[in-house]
């Protein structure tokens, strides 16, 4: 993460208000195309408006399309989403195909995605399926029938021979050798 990401919004990919669980609602609620009628940098946007915009509006009746001509300013697409977010796309010198592609992208996404840092590349609402571990999870089944007090269960699981034990063993070995 670099310093330019410090104050960036961070989060996980979510769908707003369970969109798509019941029915899908296009999250783009309105789009404003701002352009200049004379300037060459708006050429692509003007072409798009002339040729494809009516079809776009017909195909997506749920999106309100506004056109805002303004003199001597660069062309911009402003997309407004149902969650209140806005995304500006500057389309200086774009061709009409590129404008169309950007508009499709803006229509398909569910909010302003520029300037969001994904906290992780994966996310789950259910981190564990089997539940929290307890001391009784995966316990030896034979313990259910054990009777207490139990010498075997009372002793440590692995018991190293003590110094005394080793001495005794060494002494016994020595005695065996002497016998031979």
């Amino acid at each position: 993460m670099s310093n330019s990401h410090l104050l960036m919004k961070a989060g996980f990919i979510t769908s707003p208000a369970q969109n798509g669980v019941g029915r899908y609602v296009c999250q783009l609620q309105r789009v404003v195309l701002k352009f200049c009628k004379n300037n060459g940098s708006s050429r692509g946007v003007r072409d798009f408006i002339e040729s494809d915009l009516v079809n776009f509006a017909k195909d997506h009746p749920g999106v309100v399309v506004y056109l805002k001509p303004r003199r001597h300013r660069g062309p911009v697409i402003v997309a407004e989403y149902l969650n209140g977010e806005k995304q500006h796309v500057y389309c200086r010198n774009f061709t009409s195909e590129v404008v169309s592609k950007w508009l499709t992208l803006l229509k398909n996404q569910q909010g302003n995605h520029e300037g969001m840092r994904l906290r992780k590349m994966w996310h789950t609402d259910h981190p564990s399926i089997q539940g929290p571990w307890t001391p009784y999870t995966f316990r030896e089944p034979s313990l259910n029938l054990a009777e207490f007090p139990n010498d075997k269960l009372s002793s440590p699981a692995s018991l190293e021979p003590s110094a005394t034990d080793r001495l005794i063993e060494a002494f016994k070995k020595q005695q065996l050798k002497e016998l031979e």
Binding site: A17, N19, Y66, K68, T134, Y136
Partner: protein
């Protein structure tokens, strides 16, 4: 605080030493985070302005605003055929009508008060009907209250795009206002098409909010063991296991039995907690809560 100090240090370095950046006894290097942070702070300060609070501008006050198109798109967005007059009536609040009449403007409709009442009934009835197919009355009531709460309905309302097209004097509209408008829209839909269609709408937008929620997130008896005793009297709690008693990691497992049959297990840091957890486990099984 640290940020201000850093900023001051930067200023001091520039003002006192002028163009000679040789003396760096106080700061070891340039902190790369300072510039982006100051830029962001500057942007936010400008946004707030002198008043100290961000005042939202109503979208309807913009030059590019066409109320007819917005209302038309609202219906299309939801995939429903609304009667436009009814939809407009549903979006117009009594307070707005009163205000217009005070200002001497003629308004056709008399507000959405009756539609709100009707929509509330439809939503309420349908949710109860759907939930009672699966859950007992207590849980139905709890989930119903959760779903028909103003916060929940306004959350749904905002996410279908009501916020900008509600006709009401206040901006931004309050939670209760958005929730009421949502109810009115449901009633308008019922009058525009059919009750069946309207119930589908409620199912898709209101009931769908239960996705990813568990019943115990919404409803939980305060004293689970007592509650369980109320619905099933012949139960008997037994300590099944314990581990690390009298330590900070103490853990007890309690099972609830009825007629020598194990009904459910639960564990916790004390026997009482474990007993309540076991009771919850049993309630989950009895009520078939997944």
């Amino acid at each position: 605080m640290a940020l201000q100090r850093q900023g001051l240090n930067l200023l001091r370095r520039i003002s006192i030493h002028g163009t000679t950046f040789t003396n760096r006894t106080d700061v070891r290097s340039y902190k790369r985070w300072v510039a982006p942070t100051l830029k962001e702070l500057n942007i936010r300060t400008k946004k707030i302005g002198d008043t100290g609070e961000v005042k939202p501008t109503p979208r309807s006050s913009f030059l590019e605003w066409n109320y007819d198109a917005e209302v038309f798109a609202f219906g299309k967005r939801l995939g429903e055929e609304f009667n436009q007059d009814l939809l407009r009536k549903a979006l117009m609040h009594k307070s707005y009508v009163n205000l217009q009449e005070l200002q001497g403007n003629a308004v056709q409709s008399d507000g959405n008060t009756d539609l709100i009442k009707k929509g509330e009934d439809i939503i309420s009835k349908y949710i109860q009907l759907e939930l009672s197919k699966k859950y007992p009355d207590v849980i139905v009531q709890a989930i119903h209250n959760y779903l028909t709460d103003d916060n929940m309905l306004s959350h749904v309302g905002v996410h279908i795009g009501l916020k900008d097209i509600i006709l009401t004097p206040e901006y931004p509209p309050e939670t209760a206002t958005i929730a009421n408008t949502f109810k009115a829209v449901v009633a308008a839909l019922e009058e525009s098409s059919s009750l069946e269609n309207c119930e589908k709408f409620v199912k898709d937008f209101v009931l769908a909010q239960l996705n990813g929620k568990e019943v115990f997130d919404i409803w939980e008896p305060e004293q689970p063991y007592k509650y369980l005793k109320g619905i099933k009297s012949d139960i008997e709690p037994r300590l099944c296991n314990q581990s690390a008693a009298k330590t900070i990691l103490a853990n007890y497992q309690v099972g609830i039995y009825s007629n020598k049959q194990l009904l459910g297990l639960g564990w916790g840091e004390s026997v009482d907690v474990a007993k309540d957890m076991a009771a919850l486990n049993v309630i989950q099984k009895i009520y078939n809560i997944k």
